[in-house]
């Protein structure tokens, strides 16, 4: 058993991935869980070292969470992995855990890194399970709403459209995306008007339905519509304000409004 684990480790090193990721991708999730259980029994410290490997993906970690919770390995985990478990505990058991207190502290670099790791290494496996998707959503929302991290906006936009294509639940992600509150982010949605996937185009139109040229429905050509939307955004973004409206309130929420000339004058925007 030990030799097999060592062999996986060597092959993983060659492919620059953690051994658990390597096992999951080559032999499946069940084999990975079995390898983890064997490694815990053989040497929990070495198992923790393998888990704490920087190249471990959130997908693999998520798939091992039940086994990790059953073991006594928690104190040996990195802060990043401990935070990931705490986020899950908070959502799953709806408890007021350490997570909520950390969210109060906007300077928690480790927590920020945890959420970023979850999203960056997990988003390509979106759809793995409802619980997994929920955790990705939470990581994205925390990054956008609590840490105001705009570096993840493109990834979240891609996640929204990819999940929508497969019919998954997107509203929390969309809400988190808009909650970032910067109208410049609308360019990411507008770019989908030229997508080769018709579902992307339809969703982009729905999300941008507050823009007059989109709402009018007059433009049938997507390229023309895209250029019209870009032109409208360029003219109006300096004067737009986030309203906070979401799909929970309306079938056609208006997330941004253009400030009136009077309000622009009063706010020194003219």
């Amino acid at each position: 058993m030990k030799e097999v684990f060592t062999m996986y480790n060597s092959k993983a090193n060659l492919s620059n991935s953690s051994c658990f990721d390597y096992v999951r991708k080559t032999h499946g999730t069940d084999s990975m869980a079995a390898a983890f259980c064997r490694s815990i029994k053989a040497n929990s410290v070495k198992a923790a070292v393998a888990l704490n490997n920087d190249s471990l993906s959130f997908t693999s970690f998520f798939s091992l969470m039940d086994e990790i919770k059953k073991s006594d390995i928690y104190p040996l985990l990195s802060k990043c992995l401990q935070h990931a478990l705490e986020i899950w505990e908070t959502i799953d058991k709806k408890e007021d855990t350490y997570v909520r207190h950390v969210l109060k502290d906007r300077d928690s670099d480790t927590f920020h890194c945890t959420c970023k790791w979850m999203l960056e290494t997990g988003y390509s496996d979106d759809g793995l399970s409802p619980e997994f998707d929920k955790l990705l959503d939470s990581a994205a929302i925390i990054l956008l709403k609590s840490f105001k991290d705009n570096s993840v906006l493109p990834m979240v936009a891609e996640l929204i459209f990819a999940r929508h294509r497969r019919g998954g639940f997107i509203f929390n992600l969309v809400w988190g995306f808009f909650e970032y509150g910067d109208p410049q982010s609308l360019y990411l949605i507008a770019s989908k008007l030229r997508s080769n996937h018709w579902d992307d185009v339809e969703l982009a139109k729905r999300l941008l339905n507050f823009i007059p040229v989109v709402r009018s429905g007059l433009s049938t050509d997507c390229d023309t519509l895209y250029l019209q939307v870009i032109a409208w955004l360029r003219s109006n973004i300096p004067f737009m304000e986030y309203t906070g409206e979401s799909c929970q309130q309306s079938s056609n929420p208006v997330p941004y409004v253009v400030l009136s000339a009077k309000k622009r004058y009063l706010e020194g925007l003219t």
Binding site: I87, T90, I91, K94, V99, R100, H101, L103, K104, P130, E131, D133, K134, D137, S138, I141, I142, K145, S146, R166, G167, G168, F169, I170, F171, N172, W175, G176, G244, S246, C247, Q248, Q249, S250, S251, N252
Partner: protein, 247 residues
């Protein structure tokens, strides 16, 4: 002000409904408003009163049922009548009568769970089902997809007024929780039905006065936040006149 066929109705209309009743309250609000509420006929006016009354009864009945609060990831429904979609919504089966599917939510309420906006849409469909003849309801709404405000049938005529002149029992209002805890986005706000007399029904909170609903939402704020939830001015309504023409 109320006008029916372009004329102010006989004052006896205003006294037709007993004091303390929802229909009397609605009539009083419309009559005393500075805005003109015009109806093509007495029948159209009475239809709106009846449908608003049905909305309130549907709200109270849903509150009293075992219909549970769940976010879209965990929503549940009776698969005999509904298909639960990947995004957590409920689509009525093509082979079942929509009237039966909507009523099943009330009959077997313990088998259903979703969030607040979808609950309001359930209330709306139930109210319409209770007001329309069964066959007509099935003709107008052959397939129903319950997924908050998305995919509602155009025949319901649902509209959003961000600056309404008056607030009436049967209207849907919205309490916003601007500083919601990012781990509980389902509590970013609460859709409620105005039951009249200062009470509101919101799925997940219950029947309560505004301050109680605000207090409940404030329990789900980001740690350390002191930004309170609040009741927004906006109103969502069924298209009463549109539906009156369809009955």
């Amino acid at each position: 002000m109320i006008t029916i066929s372009g004329s102010v109705p006989d004052p006896s209309l205003l006294l037709k409904y007993p004091p303390g009743s929802v229909k009397r309250l609605i009539t009083d609000i419309l009559h005393s408003s500075s805005k003109e509420y015009g109806y093509r006929s007495l029948k159209e006016f009475e239809f709106e009163l009846q449908l608003r009354d049905s909305i309130i009864h549907a709200s109270i009945d849903l509150f009293r049922s075992r219909f549970s609060f769940k976010d879209f990831h965990d929503s549940i429904c009776n698969e005999k009548y509904w298909e639960r979609t990947d995004e957590g919504g409920f689509l009525s089966h093509a082979h079942v009568k929509p009237y039966d599917a909507i009523n099943d939510i009330y009959i077997n309420s313990y088998m259903y769970g979703t969030e607040c906006a979808t609950a309001i849409v359930v209330v709306y469909y139930k109210a319409v089902a209770d007001t329309f003849p069964e066959q007509r309801f099935n003709e107008l709404f052959p397939r129903i997809y319950l997924m908050d405000w998305q995919y509602t049938n155009n025949r319901l005529g649902i509209t959003l007024d961000r600056r309404p002149h008056d607030y009436l029992p049967g209207d849907c209002r919205y309490f916003k929780n601007p500083d919601v805890d990012p781990l509980t986005p389902q509590w970013q706000g609460e859709n409620v039905i105005d039951l009249g007399f200062g009470n509101y029904y919101g799925h997940g909170i219950g029947i309560a006065r505004p301050e109680i609903i605000i207090e409940a939402l404030n329990q789900h704020r980001s740690p350390g936040s002191e930004t309170s939830a609040y009741l927004m001015d906006m109103v969502t309504q069924l298209g009463f006149k549109q539906l009156a023409a369809l009955i």
